[in-house]
């Protein structure tokens, strides 16, 4: 297929995935900030939402202090923020239009329909209740988009590039949450304990829709190292780094066997996957959770660049 088409498919999926993630981050922040002030966590949930979305620097150009109204606007609706939900859906739709022939009509109708509805949906989201409606709508769009791709696309390179986009973005998102929140998962912090930690931990899980999964996997109360284990190493958990890398490596393998050629991106994905498979959460904590996460984000970016060089240009 055309390199440009593969590139658009890859980014189309990434942007839809990112919109979904931002909706979850905002939901988790809204939930945490609604807790009684008496818990006195000392952290600003809105600030960490901006950090988790990876746009702290840009945010500071427009606002002094992060608070509910400006963060919601910035992450959900702002046109100044190229990663706001609105911008993501717009870029996704433009990419979809550019590769109209490479996606199925079900996928196109989902993303084009979302783009058409977006102005009304955004206009309605003025109070907290309707904000939740808006975020639910965004999550539903991504489910429908993902689901229609899964159900209707031919299993060929177009599908594999689209899937690659989803999983590279998803791995990045999960790693970012860990990057911003790693301190509440550290053992010294856990010793402090208390309700606020529970809420913080639950919020992390909620942002990756894994709160229920946690209970099914570990069958015990929330423990920070188990949360880290679930998000980093657990193969069953669809948003864990290990699971994302399993999918990334598999999709890259399908590409290389279809094209009959192996390259840098296959080697890199394999090696990241093997590192994750052979790691244990104790080791990660011993050598530093933060260092591990920072290293992972850098590797994930390197893989994105390798895919671009090998296939997308």
């Amino acid at each position: 297929m055309l390199s440009r088409t593969a590139d658009s498919l890859f980014w189309l999926s990434r942007y839809v995935e990112r919109a979904d993630y931002l909706a979850r981050v905002l939901e988790a922040a809204a939930r945490l900030s609604a807790l009684p002030k008496a818990y006195g966590s000392g952290t600003n949930e809105w600030e960490s939402a901006v950090a988790t979305a990876g746009c702290t620097d840009l945010f500071r150009k427009f606002y002094e202090t992060p608070e509910a109204a400006n963060v919601i606007h910035f992450l959900a609706f702002s046109e100044d923020n190229p990663s706001s939900i609105k911008s993501c859906l717009e870029v996704a739709r433009n990419n979809a239009r550019a590769v109209r022939t490479a996606i199925t009509s079900e996928m196109w109708q989902t993303i084009n329909g979302a783009w058409l509805e977006l102005p009304q949906m955004a206009a309605k989201a003025t109070d907290p209740d309707s904000l939740m409606d808006f975020l639910d709508w965004v999550k539903e769009i991504s489910l429908r988009f993902d689901g229609s791709g899964y159900r209707t696309m031919l299993r060929n390179d177009a599908y594999w590039f689209a899937r690659l986009g989803i999983f590279i973005e998803r791995a990045d998102n999960t790693a970012r949450i860990l990057d911003v929140k790693y301190h509440v998962l550290l053992p010294e912090h856990a010793a402090v304990g208390g309700g606020i930690d529970y809420s913080q931990w639950a919020a992390i899980l909620r942002a990756v829709s894994a709160l229920t999964s946690y209970h099914w996997v570990y069958r015990q109360g929330l423990q920070p190292w188990l949360i880290a284990d679930l998000l980093i190493l657990n193969q069953q958990m669809p948003r864990s780094l290990a699971s994302c890398y399993g999918a990334i490596a598999a999709n890259l393998e399908r590409l290389s066997s279809a094209y009959g050629r192996h390259g840098e991106s296959q080697r890199l994905a394999r090696s990241i996957l093997v590192q994750l498979e052979n790691n244990r959460i104790e080791q990660i904590f011993q050598s530093g959770l933060h260092e591990f996460v920072t290293g992972f984000i850098a590797n994930n970016n390197r893989l994105g660049a390798a895919v671009a060089t090998q296939y997308l240009s």
């Binding site: 055309l2 440009r4 109708q109």
Partner: protein, 470 residues
């Protein structure tokens, strides 16, 4: 009273419309309105839109769609089809001639300056053998009726005619939203158009191409007004939709950049004007084209559909000579009529036109899209005065025609069901293995009462066109 294709002046219904007339009596405005709204939603959700240039507001608009189909009897269509085949053969022969031996000029039939001074004539094409001798692989010939007998050609579009996606979209809507009416007729299918187009393109591959040929559709990109159509056709044919930057030329061979490395391209269905296809030969500022493409073309390594320089027949003065071309190249009498045309370049014609401006339609020789024309009977005194000055200043740039009383068909408009003027654009495909025309074409309808301008850029809409076996 213009000729109405459904109802004659005595109130009786013409045979092809018997079922439609019966159906219209039974259906309510509310039912029609609901279907109209559903049809609009179909276009909107499908992204079946076009862009109006110079309109900041509506980057993407949909073309109004009228849900009442236009009916042609199979016998009427057979007659029209034979005429279209004849005309496209003559047009193709004319292009092969003016880029080759120029017999028609030597015979004194077409004045030479109509070739040499025509801005759409491409001297680079002179003496060049195009693959299989085919110039116009895809043509759209605009047809109007004024009575139940004859078809008139309004203009020939031999560059990159568009609109076929609306023909196919309209059919999809008929089948979905009008099943009872559709089912009551034996409607000849048009859905195979993309297959016919692909077969045509493949048949036109260069002779030196391998057996497994690769065709692509070259689009100017997603900001082009017809982008939806480009993507739709590429999709239905299963070929890549490429932009100029996706292609490159090495050793006079065209390749596309793919995820598996360079892949050779044999046939380019280009929806990009001549001027933009290769900055090395034509417009050097073009960012849309492919440097070296023309060299690959002249080396015989790639087929361009349509060929370069086909615009030389879109000219409205050249149009007036097409009946002569039919006689000259085919030795036949033309089956389709031409609208009588005054060539303002001729002093006698000009004098007549200046005396009768309020009755005539005056058009620019190279105009299109319904722009830059004067419709005498509907024009103000100021418009007429303006055109009088224009005509005197540059007579060669204009032709004039009588104001035809275009036929009407029933349409569903704000006030209910009313007759509206229509034309028809059938699409004619010419491959190395023959001519293909899917039955019908795109009917364009002027939705404003009394308007004769059917162009989508000027408020026209479309209708599905049913060729019906009785």
């Amino acid at each position: 009273m213009p000729f109405d294709e459904m109802r004659l002046e005595d109130g009786s219904v013409r045979a092809p419309y018997l079922e439609v007339a019966k159906w219209l009596e039974g259906v309510t405005s509310a039912q029609l309105e609901r279907r109209r709204a559903e049809a609009e939603l179909f276009y909107r959700r499908g992204g079946i839109t076009f862009a109006v240039y110079g309109d900041a507001q509506g980057e993407e608009r949909i073309i109004p769609y009228d849900i009442i189909p236009r009916i042609l009897a199979a016998q009427e269509w057979a007659k029209l089809k034979a005429g279209l085949e004849q005309r496209i053969k003559a047009l193709n022969a004319y292009l092969a001639d003016i880029y080759g031996p120029r017999e028609i000029l030597k015979a004194g039939i077409v004045p030479p300056d109509l070739v040499w001074r025509n801005p759409a004539y491409r001297p680079e094409m002179a003496g060049l053998a195009v693959p299989h001798g085919i110039y116009i692989h895809i043509a759209g010939i605009d047809i109007v009726r004024v009575d139940g007998d004859d078809f008139y050609v309004l203009e020939d579009n031999a560059r990159t005619p568009s609109g076929v996606s609306y023909m196919l979209g309209g059919r999809e809507i008929s089948i979905r939203l009008m099943p009872e009416l559709y089912g009551a007729h034996r409607v000849a299918p048009v859905e195979n158009y993309p297959n016919e187009l692909l077969a045509t393109l493949q048949s036109a591959a260069p002779r030196n191409a391998t057996k497994d040929v690769t065709a692509v559709l070259l689009t100017p990109g997603q900001f082009n007004s017809a982008y939806y159509e480009h993507s739709f056709l590429a999709d239905k044919m299963g070929i890549e939709l490429v932009e100029g930057s996706d292609l490159f030329v090495r050793d006079s061979v065209v390749f596309m950049r793919t995820t598996e490395g360079p892949k050779r391209v044999d046939i380019i269905y280009r929806r990009l004007d001549d001027a933009f296809i290769d900055p090395l030969v034509f417009d050097p500022h073009s960012m849309l084209g492919v440097p070296g493409l023309f060299a690959a073309y002249t080396a015989g390594n790639v087929t361009l559909a349509n060929a370069v320089g086909t615009g030389a027949v879109d000219d409205k003065v050249v149009y007036s000579y097409v009946p002569d071309m039919v006689r000259f190249y085919l030795g036949e009498e033309p089956l389709l009529k031409n609208v009588p045309t005054w060539r303002c370049r001729d002093p006698n014609d000009l004098a007549y036109v200046l005396d009768h401006l309020s009755e005539l339609v005056v058009k620019e020789v190279h105009g299109s899209g319904g722009y830059g024309m004067l419709v005498g009977p509907h024009a103000t005194g100021a418009d007429i005065a303006l055109f009088r000055d224009k005509l005197k200043a540059d007579p060669t740039n204009y032709i004039a025609q009588p104001t035809l009383s275009l036929s009407t068909c029933p349409a569903f408009v704000d006030m209910g069901i009313a007759p509206r003027h229509v034309d028809l654009r059938p699409f004619i495909l010419t491959g190395a293995d023959g001519i293909r025309i899917v039955p019908g074409g795109l009917t364009r309808v002027a939705l404003r009462a009394g308007s004769l301008v059917v162009n989508s850029s000027q408020g026209g809409g479309t209708k599905d066109t049913w060729v019906v076996e009785s």
